[in-house]
Symmetry: D5
Subunit: 95 residues, 10 copies
Amino acid sequence: MTERFAVRMVVDLPADMDSDVKADLLAREKAFSQEWQRSGEWVSIWRCVGEYANLSIFEVRDNAQLHEILSGLPLFPYMSMQVTPLTTHPSDIKA
Amino acid sequence: MTERFAVRMVVDLPADMDSDVKADLLAREKAFSQEWQRSGEWVSIWRCVGEYANLSIFEVRDNAQLHEILSGLPLFPYMSMQVTPLTTHPSDIKA
Amino acid sequence: MTERFAVRMVVDLPADMDSDVKADLLAREKAFSQEWQRSGEWVSIWRCVGEYANLSIFEVRDNAQLHEILSGLPLFPYMSMQVTPLTTHPSDIKA
Amino acid sequence: MTERFAVRMVVDLPADMDSDVKADLLAREKAFSQEWQRSGEWVSIWRCVGEYANLSIFEVRDNAQLHEILSGLPLFPYMSMQVTPLTTHPSDIKA
Amino acid sequence: MTERFAVRMVVDLPADMDSDVKADLLAREKAFSQEWQRSGEWVSIWRCVGEYANLSIFEVRDNAQLHEILSGLPLFPYMSMQVTPLTTHPSDIKA
Amino acid sequence: MTERFAVRMVVDLPADMDSDVKADLLAREKAFSQEWQRSGEWVSIWRCVGEYANLSIFEVRDNAQLHEILSGLPLFPYMSMQVTPLTTHPSDIKA
Amino acid sequence: MTERFAVRMVVDLPADMDSDVKADLLAREKAFSQEWQRSGEWVSIWRCVGEYANLSIFEVRDNAQLHEILSGLPLFPYMSMQVTPLTTHPSDIKA
Amino acid sequence: MTERFAVRMVVDLPADMDSDVKADLLAREKAFSQEWQRSGEWVSIWRCVGEYANLSIFEVRDNAQLHEILSGLPLFPYMSMQVTPLTTHPSDIKA
Amino acid sequence: MTERFAVRMVVDLPADMDSDVKADLLAREKAFSQEWQRSGEWVSIWRCVGEYANLSIFEVRDNAQLHEILSGLPLFPYMSMQVTPLTTHPSDIKA
Amino acid sequence: MTERFAVRMVVDLPADMDSDVKADLLAREKAFSQEWQRSGEWVSIWRCVGEYANLSIFEVRDNAQLHEILSGLPLFPYMSMQVTPLTTHPSDIKA
């Protein structure tokens, strides 16, 4: 059984971050995200147009696993997140 | 070619709405939504837990078609909507 | 396995609601809440001082069950809710 | 006699904080929190999913003691807090 | 022992309230407020200039008594309240 | 003749402020505040629980004197203030 | 001696207000405003473009007189107000 | 000489407005808008997707004329407006 | 012909600004403001009590001139501004 | 086929940015903007009076191209953006 959540993540990196540090951070962020995409918990990730932000859909075992993923992100200290628990909509034709 | 958007819709029905009017309205809303789900533009619809609200993903021909769908909803006069244009995220393994 | 959530509920009844309708509504609200308290899902409910509002803690099977409880409340059409998914805190001595 | 309060604490550490300073700060924060949990005033502490934040329940002697605890937290200079005084809810089956 | 709180109350009466109903309501509000002023719990009440609002200081036995007073106000259904728990300030020359 | 105002002051000191500079600043702040308390213009000062903030009541000669006091505070550059002009409330038993 | 204040007033009339009632209300509002303009307390009144709102400057005897004027406005029950106490600016060439 | 402004208008019609009244209102709104488009002051009008709202560009003689147009709209009592004065941007290739 | 605007300016100087740099900046700000006051465009400037902020009234040739003045202020990079276009109010006895 | 969007961009440069770095950044920003204006996607750009901000209209191939332009701006790391998808308004005489 999995629980679905929408998470909107906004990134705010310091303007004076060293470019090597930044490149390393972003590479690890991408790898971390893709690992969880491949294992199936991070179902979708979309860029919000004009923002350093994404909207993602997660299907996780429980609240604890969602927090483990989100707080494990290399960019977590530079992000603000908005978490919305989701459930089946009565009009959903796939439900 | 299709464009992807996230739309968060919050419903606020008048407390004193006639129950028959309401039942009819909700039935038409459901039918309208499912028609666009079947034709493929309304890709996902999820209930936000604890709210009379949904988060939906649309893949539409253009801005005009998205507005045609949203403003055509029988509940449109009772909804507030937040529209976010989306694009591919560089970390997306499906991209 | 249960998932923990904090829910803040604010009630806004119409000023001109018929007093019998209101009394019946509140009686059904209380019964509904207490039923879920007795079955263990609604763990705590506290009044927020000076507000027609409560802060509640739920331990539910999943997101779907939380929405079933919240949307089943007789006062649901008159409430706005703020749902926060919780997990264990690393400083919690009971964890 | 004790008074109950809900407190939501959000932590915002500077991105460039020295890692030793940070480790020491967090160790002292944890010890301080657990001391007040053991003595009974800090009744519950939960992590808010996806945030560097917690929701806590306190049962304290009075307003002064609550401020003593909160302002004594090693992380206090890096936190913003939202304090809600609570009282018994008429629907509470334990009241 | 008493606990001190600041409460800001904003009144929003329906524009079409019957004038006799309103006069009666306001008379009962005034009597209720003055009763608690005389018994000492409602220490100060000031009008906020240009608003149908007041700022009040309460010294009460506990959270429960503060809620009893505030929720007992005849105007309570028409008010929104902001409650701030107070304690002694280290610079206070009277402390 | 004096005019009454409520002022809510929130302090935000830089995390890296030198501890001697800070100690000197706070000592001067306290002395400055107490001087105006003794001369009668700064009638009350209370700590807001869980915040580096206070709620104060002033009775001053005029707007100019209130600004002179507030802008003269050694912590003024680190504070945000919310000023509310007050007048007598018709329900006040002392009026 | 007079005290200066800026007041921003926003009007929100019910859409279904009877047109005679409205005409009478607006006529009395205008007369009331002009009376205080002529006596000198209501120094300036400007329309905010695109809004049913005004920005006004008052020079009054004290806080009490300002509240007397504002709360005496026939439109007061339909207005929200934002009051800013002003004082001389050090760069003012007229000061 | 003309002055340029951006205006965002959001419409909020009462849910129970009579359909004939509404049809008449909307017809007059359209005619009024088109008249000012033809005379050149209302340069652009676009629908905001998913909202009963528009973003418009005006080039008017002065502030007074802009207010004359906006407050003359048949829907004005049902609209909230946000007015932004514009001027030439130094990067504009047409400037 | 002149256009009237209200501008609220809030200043936020870095806490660690060099005192000579600051003194020079403020001297140039004052001179700049007074130059435009003398030439008639900057009609009024008032200090907002308890804030490092002012409310000003401008009568300018057009939007471009207002932006020229505001963006030319030595403190402009440290200010946030709120610009409100004004026009004659129908109740104004001077109109 | 092109899609129309309004974008409001607000710039927030660090107060201590090196003047050569800044001059170079602004020169590249201007060149980048003008390149997209000449190729037709960046249809309009206006300065918002009193703000380091602009309102722009884009006509782009799709969401992806809009994000490519906006995120490619040399000032992008220092900007916050608000993106509004637009479509034809039924009252538009040019539609």
